[in-house]
Structure formats: C-alpha cells, structure tokens
C-alpha cells in the first residue's frame, strides 16, 4: 500500500520542483502579491469583478508609478472556487513566492478559517476587508489578520442604526428578521444583533436558508406570515436573486430589505431591474461614486488594452471594492517600505507591520484617487480593522443610489463582543496575547 503513496510523493516532488522554477524567475526589486480568486463555481458572478478589480489596481500601480517606490508588483492568481481545501492548496503554493506573499485576501469565510490557523505559524498576513472573523479585529490575539474597514458585526450595527433613524429613533416593539445563508458567513452577525435586540427592544427572528438557496419559498412565506418590519438579508450567490424574487412574489416591500455588501453588487439586482427597486444594501465604501482612480485605470491600463476584465466592469461595485482591497495591500507595502527601506522587496513580517500602521488620511486617499470612494482609515497594533465607515445604497431599478451618510458602528456594542470572542479564540488555540 505504501508504494502508491510513494508514487504520489515522487510525482509531487517533481511537480513542486517544476512549480518552484517559476518562483526562481522572480528578480530582486519585486514584491509578490498572491491573488486568491474564484472565477468559477457558485460565487463566480461576485468573484469575477472582485478578482478583476484586485488585479487591475496592481497593474495600474505598475503602469502609472512603476510599482511602489520602484519595486514592481508581481502577482499570481489561484483559483479556489470558494472551496476551503483548494484555498489551502493555493495558499501553500503562493505563500513562499518572491520575497514572500504580501498578504492573502482569501475572498471566503471558509478559506479564512483554514488559512488563519496556518498564518500564525507561517507568519503571513491574512487581510479580510469586510468579511472573515469579526473578532479578528483584536490585534493582540490575531497578530496576522486584518479585517480592514469593517466586519459583519459593524455592518449589522450600521444597518440597525439606519433602521433606527428611519423609525425616528426607536425600535421598541419592532420586528426585525435576519434571513441568512446557513453557514458561518451567514451566522456571523447573529450575536451582535441579539445584543442590539436586547438593548433597543426590537424582536429578532432568524430564518436560515440552506445553501445554495435556490428555493426559498417557505422562508418568504414565513416572512409574509410574520410581517417583520425589516428584513436583514445575509445572502450570497444565487441566494440573493432567489430571495429578492421571492420577496417580490410574496409581496414583501423591497424598501424594507437590507442586504450585506456581498449581496449588494450590480449583478445581484441588474437582471431583476424594477423588481428590485428599493432594495437596500450596505456598502463598505462609496460604491456609487467614481473617482480619479477609475479614470487612471482607463488611461493607464484599459486604453492600453491591458485591462483584466471588460471596460464596462469598471466602476461596478464589486470591481471598485477589488481595487480598494488591492490599494490597501499596496499602501501597507508602501508604509512598510517607509520603515524597512524604500525600494526594497519586503518579507511578509515587514508587510504585516505596514498593515498594522496604515494611516490613510483624507488627503492621502485623495492623492490615490480614492477620496470619493472611501473614508480615512488608521490601523494600530490593537485595532486591526481601523476605522469602519459604511453607508446605505439603494437600487432604483437601474443603478445604485447613495441613500445615507457615512455611519460608524457603535463601539459600545462591538468592542465587548470582539474582546469576548477573541479571548475565547486565544484560549481554544492557547495563543498568548501580545501587549499593545
């Protein structure tokens, strides 16, 4: 029996050796950025523009500024198809490339779990802007995780804030339902919402939808029966259009729907068009807005025919988010270079320092062409999320319209949760927390 294992070992030794050669081709002044993506499978419609955005921005930086202080950005995509095991394989394949992987945006909750566990050992950064483990905000425990700009907890909190505003400041006796993708991703906001419900006196009812969620009739029949005042919609992939359709079919007003950002991209509602009119989505960035970065992208990349996706994709919500994520990655590298030497390729540890000392002021963002797109963010050793800003956009049947001003989550709900869950994680994995 062992013989076959041997075959495997050898075959793989060869494979990895050859695979290794492409590593060898990396020259000195290059910084490697691994790109975990899913352009196929269940979540491809979201994954494609996201991946395009991530890659486009790196191309832009190379084309426009010749990299970061002269250090060219190299990158390689690896298809995960949103599958944890595949994701781990990609991570293992890319983590050592060049001077070391600058940071993994896994694009998946499941992969984040698996990779987080290894990142502690391998000492590479896992950046999860707007997803991942909400408690990983706590830098004292999660040295290598960076849920920048926001987590599902901040998102849920902001939704509640916006609803409260609509309800003239009080949710007493209101009914709010959470219709969620029955997976860790979908369940993430529950503890925060329960805390909120207790504090604000609204009644929270939970409606899990078994993935993939192509069939949600029973869920929406229940919604129709219980008539909640608002529905928070934590969906993904096909579950989103399916849900909106059922909402329409059961006559639930779309204006009362609040979707998480992964269910608030153009492709989610485009084809439903008028049917989704009034559908609200929270966004981590000012998705509706265009800014200099978009023009630059056209000028330096797409007009040269080097665009990753179709030019029409530029400015779409997911694409912009992709670019923003790459921008954060690049700025982390820049910050790290300021400390460890301009124009030098950096080790993952050094990049980590950059992530931990991000300070994107309004002017800086403006200079980068993101001034209109997002708000300033500043991370620290203890706070790996930085400042979370989010706002509500609404689908008017043809495009997204910004409906609210910027919100910031209410720390008095978030922070204790973060502490509690981070402590639990540290205990489970017996990680000794760093002092900050």
């Amino acid at each position: 029996m062992k013989f076959q294992m041997q075959c495997a070992a050898m075959a793989m030794a060869v494979a990895s050796a050859v695979g290794g050669m492409s590593i060898a081709s990396a020259q000195t002044a290059e910084q490697f950025v691994p790109l975990l993506v899913y352009r196929t499978g269940q979540f491809a419609p979201l994954g494609i523009p996201w991946a395009d955005g991530k890659q486009d921005y790196l191309k832009l930086v190379n084309a426009r500024d010749g990299g970061v202080n002269g250090v060219k950005l190299t990158y390689e995509e690896c298809e995960t198809a949103y599958d944890a095991a595949k994701g781990v394989e990609c991570y293992e394949r890319l983590k050592g490339k060049g001077s070391g992987a600058s940071g993994f945006d896994t694009q998946s909750t499941g992969i984040t779990f698996a990779v987080t566990d290894k990142a502690f050992v391998d000492k590479v950064v896992v950046e999860t802007p707007g997803y991942g483990l909400s408690q990983s905000v706590d830098g004292t425990v999660f040295e290598w995780n960076f849920p920048l700009l926001g987590t599902y907890w901040t998102a849920a909190d902001v939704m509640i804030q916006d609803i409260t505003k609509k309800e003239k400041g009080s949710l007493k006796g209101k009914k709010i339902a959470l219709v969620y993708h029955d997976s860790p991703y979908g369940k993430e906001p529950i503890p925060l919402l329960q805390k909120r419900a207790a504090a604000d006196g609204f009644e929270l009812s939970l409606f899990p939808v078994t993935p993939p969620g192509v069939e949600q009739k029973s869920t929406w029949l229940q919604i129709r029966q219980q008539k909640p005042d608002y529905v928070l919609f934590w969906s993904a992939g096909v579950m989103t259009p399916a849900g909106i359709r059922e909402a329409q079919a059961s006559g639930y007003p779309r204006e009362k729907l609040y979707a998480i950002w992964w269910a608030g991209s153009d492709h989610d509602v485009k084809d439903i068009g008028a049917g989704a009119k009034g559908y609200n989505a929270i966004t981590i960035h000012n998705s509706a807005a265009k800014d200099k970065v978009h023009d630059d992208l056209r000028k330096f990349v797409y007009d040269k025919g080097q665009g990753t996706g179709a030019p029409t994709g530029i400015g779409s919500l997911a694409h912009t988010r992709g670019m923003m994520i790459s921008m954060l990655q690049v700025e982390a590298i820049r910050a790290a270079q300021d400390k460890y030497g301009k124009g030098k390729p950096l080790t993952p540890e050094q990049v980590r320092w950059g992530f931990e000392n991000l300070d994107l002021s309004a002017d800086k963002l403006k200079a980068l062409g993101f001034g209109e797109v997002m708000r300033p963010v500043k991370t620290s050793c203890a706070n790996h999320m930085g400042d979370d800003w989010a706002r509500i956009v609404q689908w008017d049947g043809g495009k997204w319209e910004v409906k609210s001003d910027w919100y910031q989550s209410d720390k008095k709900f978030i922070d204790p949760l973060v502490k509690e869950y981070a402590a639990k994680y540290a205990k489970d994995k017996n990680i000794k927390t760093r002092a900050c």
Binding site: R39, T40, G41, Q42, A44, P45, I48, D182, L206, F207, P208, V209, T210, P212, V214, E215, K217, S218, T219, L221, Q222, R224, Q225, G237, V238, P241, A242, R245, Q248, A249, S250, G251, H267, K270, D271, I272, G275
Partner: protein
C-alpha cells in the same frame, strides 16, 4: 387556513419544478439504465446556451424582437442539447454498455464536470438573463373567503403550467409515437429490444436528447426566475429525493413525487422548522423519501424486485 393553503400551493408550484428536473432523470434511467448525475449540469448548460444565444442572436442577425430572439435561442439551445446527447452516446455510453450502475453513475459525474467546464468556457460564468416575459408580481384570489386572501405568484403558476404541459407532451410522445413505443420497449428489456431490431445507440441519443430538452425547459424556468449562473446546476439536488420517492423508472412517479416533496418540505419548514431551528427542508425531503422507501423499497411506482435462485 388561508396561510396553510398558500403554503400547500407554494409547495405544489415548487414541486412541479422539481418534477420537471426529476423527469429528466427518470427518462434517461428508464431507457439507458443510467442514473444521470449530469442532469444538473445539463440544466445549467442548456440555460447558459439559451441565455447567451438570446443575447447574441439579435446582435448577429441585427434585429431586436425579444420574442424572435427567444424562439431562435430556444431552438439553438435545443440543438446544443441534442449535440450533447449525441456526444455523450458516442464518446461515453456506447463504450460503457452493461457496466455496473455505479460505474455509469460515476461516468455521468465525469460528464457533469465536462459540461460545467464547457458551458462556462463557451458561455461565461457570470450571471446572465433569460427574459421570456414571465410576470413577476403576485396576485390575490379568494379575498372574500379568507381575510387577506390567497397570495399567489403568477410566475410560479405559469412555470407550473409549462411544466405540466411538457409532461403531458412527453406522455403522449411515449404512448402514441413509434419512437416512443420503441423507447418503452428498450426500457423494459434491452436485449429483447435489440433482438427485434431496435438500434440501442439511436434510442439512447433520442432519450438523452429528450432529457436535454427537459433540462432546457427547466433551465429556462429557473433561469428566468433566478438568472442563469452556475448555482442553478444545484437544483438537481432537489430532484434526487423526488426520483427515488416516485421510483427511478416511473414518469408519473416523478410527477407525484415532485408534488409530494414540494408540499412536504414546505410544510415541514414552516410548521416543524421553527422548533428545530429552521433550514430543515433540504434534509427533510430526503428523510421523507427514505421513510417511503422503507415501506416500498422500489419507490411509489418503481418496478418490484424478486430474488430468483
């Protein structure tokens, strides 16, 4: 009461669609003894073809009539499915005659991989639109019987009607036409059918084509509802319990099974779900099927097996 009826009705509607997918399984299993795991992939492939052709054809031929576009697209997609059927028979089935059922099942899983890859490669993996002008908004009936009345979705209604029509059509096809009779002959006994000169190969191509067309209709219905994307290949998982509940070899079984599962899962989710924390309809459908099998191991309408030694 009103709500209960709504639930049942919703279940029936959903069940009709499951039945449609299940039908594909049954047809193919009857005639070629293959449990076709690729059915879902076929639904996806067909839907992608339909969606993309209806988008491309007008551009190629330079006209803009939605109806015409859809008609042509449907024909084109149908042709694709026939081609797929032909290839499947040529490249796989033909070489796998009288293999174990499990081997054939695995082969269809391989085929499913190929179809998934090919479909997304040819037609793309983003979300695409099928617009056959299905009305989306609900309407209310029996307002004076129940307060609030019964809220029904036109889309579901049309979908169910379409599904029903297709089933009727197929039944006619099997009962009346020569090919239909030949198909049934094959289903009953391969050797015998061959010996009276029915060409198995051709029959398989036909039956897989029919399976493909069923997939196409299912694809159009689901696609126009959810938009066409990879995930609609997963509706197949909804059809499995239906198939075994009704009996692998029974067309009426597929229909009735579909309705039973549809209603069963909705009722379970709504009236049982809350006590179990919800999200139970998926496995409940299988549990239901399993329960029935324990009483009738060959499904409601399947053929009975007697040991002979």
């Amino acid at each position: 009461m009103g709500f209960f009826l709504e639930t049942v009705f919703g279940g029936l509607m959903a069940g009709m669609l499951y039945a449609l997918v299940a039908l594909g399984f049954v047809l193919i299993f009857k005639a070629s003894g293959v449990f076709n795991f690729a059915q879902g992939a076929m639904v996806l492939f067909a839907a992608l073809a339909m969606a993309r052709f209806s988008e491309w054809i007008p551009r190629w031929l330079g006209f803009d009539s939605l109806l015409l576009a859809n008609l042509l697209a449907f024909v084109a997609a149908g042709a694709c499915m026939v081609a797929v059927a032909w290839l499947v028979e040529r490249l796989a089935l033909r070489h796998l005659v009288n293999q174990e059922g499990i081997t054939l099942l695995m082969a269809t899983l391989g085929i499913a991989h190929v179809l998934d890859g090919a479909g997304q490669l040819l037609f793309g993996s983003a979300t695409y639109k099928i617009d056959v002008g299905m009305p989306k908004d609900p309407f209310i009936v029996l307002e004076n019987t129940f307060e609030g009345g019964l809220l029904l979705s036109k889309e579901d209604l049309y979908a169910a009607v379409a599904a029903g029509a297709l089933v009727a059509l197929l039944t006619l096809f099997f009962q009346k036409t020569r090919t239909g009779r030949a198909l049934r002959a094959v289903a009953d006994d391969h050797q015998a059918a061959q010996s009276i000169g029915i060409p198995l190969g051709r029959i398989w191509v036909i039956v897989w084509s029919v399976g493909g067309l069923v997939a196409l209709v299912a694809g159009v219905i689901w696609g126009s509802k959810l938009g066409v994307q990879f995930s609609i290949s997963l509706v197949a998982l909804k059809a499995f319990p239906v198939v075994i509940l009704g009996g692998l070899t029974s067309v009426p079984g597929a229909i009735l099974g579909g309705l039973i599962i549809g209603v069963g899962e909705k009722l379970s989710e709504i009236y049982l779900g809350p006590f179990l924390g919800g999200g139970i309809e998926n496995w409940f459908a299988y549990a239901l099927a399993l329960a029935v099998l324990l009483i009738r191991p060959q499904g409601l309408f399947g053929d009975k097996i007697i040991d002979r030694v």
